[in-house]
């Protein structure tokens, strides 16, 4: 600690801090443009010049470390003269036309100019003009306004891990841009809009649609991944106009992913269902809520009376709120059915699968790991903010190792990696487990016997020793592990590895409330207290593959959200009664559903999401429901009343979450569940016959809102349905890049274009789920046949 004095205020500051940090902590304002607390120090804008006693010239506060006894004046004549001088220079080339600039009213340059600028410009000469660049569908450029602070360039290098913007040219000819016209591809690129202190980089979908002072700011939680980034929704006239990050150091720091930033463009899509609809004699008709709810109750009662409650089931998307899932399971259990699930993309429900797949640690903990083994995860596109934490760990020197079904491109340096077809991931993990056992053969005799047939390679040994020797090691299982047909085997082996190596086990769940679904009791075998029920119902897969007589579907589109779309659609169409609570209507719904009840997306309802680390985050509605849509919790509450079930007298969503809070188990004590005692059968460590499908879900296909977000669907990350094979595998099937192929799984089939992709291992075919074109196929991770079409 050193003692310094700023503007006469004595301060105690940590050694090595810069003056500007000390001033910020003490609440003393110093103007700045290039300095940003999350970026490296550039000291190129010179706006933060301050007077330091005994220094000959004013010094930049952002690049001057504190020293004991330092006396600093931020508002002295010398400091102000310097700051005003810099301001005048910065304004030389900057257009003075704030009224026509999209940043006007929320511009750092405008604000600082109000405090430090002159009221008239003395500059008479020509101003420089810079051509605007097209850097993609998300960010607009107005490069004449750029003041060369280089925050956007440093963001790319340091945070996104993908340097796409740079400063080309020199002196007056220096320009910020990509040099060659191209779109930014970082999944975090939108953050440069917040960083840009002027109107040079602004949001393309939002541009010129509202002024800062016309909108109100509402707090919310990001609904598209299990990070739960904190958001501000900016709303005007009952509409979400844009989304920006809300700072929370423990979760998203000051960043959000592009998916969280631009998904609002899908909220008011034309497909929004704005009034209840019922199907009578095969024809759809719009109706009022009372009629629709009576119709719902009548039809469900009839189905239950005719076939028993065991023939009714409810499925909820994993991005529904805690309150919604809790009420839905309460309703169904009240009706006598245990057929409940939110694990729509899961394929394996064996008893060895995890009981609470959560991160097992805080998000901030991820950046402190020294060795990480990622299993079946494309964390960069699935949880971009999680990848950012891992990137920080990797830059600190952590070894991030991979066992993945696709050689995904990460924005951090990856260490040892095994890229292998999904069915071989189990034996790869078993190899690491055996390598760990071999480190202490005497103690692990039984495990060694059980793993006798497992081949151990030098990569397995390296991974094992890295995990064992690291102070802070972690195993993280991602979406491809959670959807893996042998999730139970992966979980058991992961448990064994963590026990032998001292590493921590964690899951990276896919959706914003995946963890919440487990806590809300949206499960066929456990209630909201986490207690097993005496007669478990059917899980998601069984419900959709075996078929039930009636279904209640919440906020989901089975053709895109389920592990096996073909089976789901077949059985939904065959059911007698399908009640669908949905914000959007699709032609598929019109075919299988009998009632369409319009419910709200996250922006129009209060609710709670539990993120990967188990943090409960409540949020409120930012805008009123669109049309006749109503928050799901209200609809379910009324349905509970109409069925005359007890305990449906809630007057607020908060009451529901408080009720659940008192019941739900604590994740920290519950752990991940499962054990490592009974190791899985490892007889088939060779390849299965034919090809194994990798049905990962692309970043912008994850849920019903994102799939309709027009801005995101124009980016390079928006995938089209196709079949991706490596060159050798394509050759074996007589296929070439661009060829047309017939892809089939049992009776299900699709015609897809072939793409040769070196990232895909032998024996596997990458066919994304959740995208139009592949919804006619079956299991997301299952055997698949490919034939060439002439």
């Amino acid at each position: 600690m050193v003692n310094i004095e700023i503007d006469g205020k004595p301060l105690q500051v940590d050694d090595g801090k810069m003056l500007i940090e000390a001033a910020d902590e003490a609440g003393i304002p110093i103007p700045r443009f290039c300095y940003h607390k999350k970026l490296s120090i550039a000291a190129n804008c010179r706006m933060c010049l301050v007077e330091v006693e005994k220094a000959a010239k004013p010094l930049p506060a952002c690049a001057t470390p504190v020293t004991d006894g330092m006396r600093v004046y931020t508002r002295s004549a010398k400091a102000l003269t310097a700051q005003k001088g810099v301001m005048e220079f910065l304004l030389i080339n900057h257009p003075l036309d704030c009224p026509i600039c999209d940043q006007g009213g929320e511009c750092e340059l405008q604000e600082v100019a109000m405090g430090y600028g002159s009221d008239v410009s003395r500059y008479q000469e020509k101003k420089r003009v810079v051509k605007d660049k097209n850097i993609g569908p998300l960010i607009s450029t107005d490069m004449t306004r750029c003041i060369h602070c280089t925050r956007c360039v440093r963001f790319g290098q340091e945070i996104a891990g993908l340097m796409e913007l740079g400063a080309t040219g020199r002196g007056e000819h220096m320009e910020i841009g990509t040099y060659i016209e191209q779109s930014l591809v970082s999944e975090m690129s939108g953050n440069v809009i917040d960083l840009c202190p002027v109107g040079a980089l602004t949001s393309k979908p939002f541009r010129f649609s509202a002024r800062a002072w016309e909108m109100s700011q509402r707090d919310s939680i990001a609904p598209h991944d299990s990070i739960g980034s904190n958001l501000h929704l900016h709303v005007r006239d009952g509409q979400v106009m844009r989304v920006v990050p809300r700072e929370n150091e423990a979760i998203n720091e000051v960043w959000i992913s592009d998916r969280d930033r631009y998904s609002y463009t899908g909220l008011n899509s034309e497909e929004r269902l704005q009034a209840p609809r019922i199907k009578q004699k095969g024809a759809w008709q719009e109706t009022d809520w009372q009629t629709a709810l009576d119709f719902t109750v009548q039809n469900l009662r009839k189905a239950i009376a005719g076939h028993g409650a065991q023939q009714t089931g409810a499925l909820s998307a994993p991005h529904c709120t805690l309150e919604e899932m809790y009420l839905l399971q309460k309703l169904l259990r009240g009706l006598g059915s245990q057929n409940l699930d939110h694990r729509l993309r899961q394929n394996d429900f064996s008893p060895q699968t995890p009981q609470y797949p959560w991160l097992g640690q805080g998000l901030a903990q991820l950046e402190k790991l020294d060795a990480v083994l990622l299993i079946g995860s494309n964390v960069r596109k699935e949880q971009p903010i999680g990848a950012h934490r891992l990137r920080k760990a990797a830059l600190r020197g952590a070894e991030v190792m991979l066992i993945n079904p696709v050689d995904y491109d990460f924005n951090f340096p990856a260490g040892e990696k095994i890229i292998i077809a999904p069915d071989a991931m189990v034996s790869a993990l078993a190899g690491v487990a055996r390598a760990l056992c071999e480190l202490d053969k005497a103690a692990n005799k039984t495990h060694l016997d059980a793993l006798a047939q497992v081949a151990v390679s030098s990569i397995h040994r390296t991974m094992a020793s890295r995990l064992k020797s690291a102070d802070n090691a972690g195993l993280l299982l991602g979406s491809s592990a959670l959807a893996h047909p042998r999730l139970g085997a992966l979980h058991t082996l992961a448990k064994l590895i963590t026990r032998l190596s001292g590493a921590r086990l964690g899951y990276l769940p896919q959706a914003s409330n995946s963890v919440g679904g487990w806590l809300a009791g949206m499960l066929p075998d456990r209630d909201a207290r986490g207690k097993s029920v005496s007669q478990p119902g059917l899980n998601a897969r069984a419900m959709l593959e075996q078929g039930l007589k009636s279904y209640v579907l919440l906020n989901m589109e089975p053709e895109f959200d389920c592990a096996n779309p073909a089976a789901a659609l077949r059985n939904l169409n065959a059911a007698e009664c399908v009640v669908t609570l949905t914000p959007y209507v699709t032609s598929q719904m019109e075919s299988y559903a009998d009632v369409l009840l319009p419910v709200t997306p996250f922006s129009e309802t209060p609710g709670t999401f539990v993120n990967a680390e188990g943090r409960w985050q409540e949020f409120n509605a930012a805008v009123r429901p669109l049309g006749e849509a109503r928050p799901t919790w209200k609809v379910l509450r009324v349905l509970g009343n109409l069925f005359e079930l007890p305990g449906f007298d809630y007057v607020s969503a908060q009451e529901i979450s408080h009720e659940l809070r008192a019941l739900a188990p604590d994740l920290a004590t519950a752990g991940n569940g499962g054990d490592s005692a009974t190791l899985p059968q490892l007889d088939n460590h060779g390849q299965t016959q034919g090809l194994m499908r990798i049905g990962h879900v692309p970043i912008h296909s994850i849920d019903n809102i994102v799939r309709r977000a027009s801005a995101l669907q124009q980016t390079a990350d928006a995938e089209q349905a196709c079949i991706r094979l490596n060159a050798a595998e394509a050759g074996r099937h007589g296929l070439m890049d661009g060829a047309s192929a017939r892809v089939s799984q049992d009776e299900a089939e699709a015609r897809l274009t072939v793409r040769v992709d070196a990232r895909v291992p032998d024996g596997a075919a990458l066919i994304a789920a959740g995208v139009p074109g592949s919804e006619t196929l079956g299991a997301s991770f299952g055997a698949v046949n490919v034939e060439r079409l002439a």
Binding site: N134, G136, M163, E164, T168, I180, V185, T715
Partner: protein, 171 residues
Amino acid sequence: MNAVPMNIAAKPLAELISAEALAEIDRWIAKYPPEQKQSAVIQALHIVQDQHGWLNNERMDAVAEYLGMPKIAVYEVATFYTMFNLKPCGRHTIAVCTNISCMLRGSDVIVSHLEKKLGIRLGQTTADGKFTIKEVECLAACGGAPMFQIGKTYYENLTPQRVDEILDKLK
């Protein structure tokens, strides 16, 4: 859909320059610690430019790939230094200094003489592909101002007459 092209994989550097030139770049890379091989970027660009006379995007991308740098970081370097030609240029590039010493000693006259004689403006190349003239910053020969550089040779104390003699000798 947006028609903006995406990153396209770069051609390997070995396909663009001779084996000797590649060995020369490797010699420069070896001078720096392995994790800082991007320190060789300026020399690598010079060597590639010597082979072709100028740098196009393909060549810069190949250098980026070879040195493990982001492409834009190579563009930053190549656009910063006037010694790198980012457009095709003539057999002889005349780099005229117009900084203060040369300007005080009459570089304006030299520039306008060159422009008139060759019928092109600064930054342009003659139709026969023989000469390119460009304006550069101080080449550290203020004692002999005004001056220009052709290829690797400095010509000092220039007058229009001397410029004519120099150019006439060049093929």
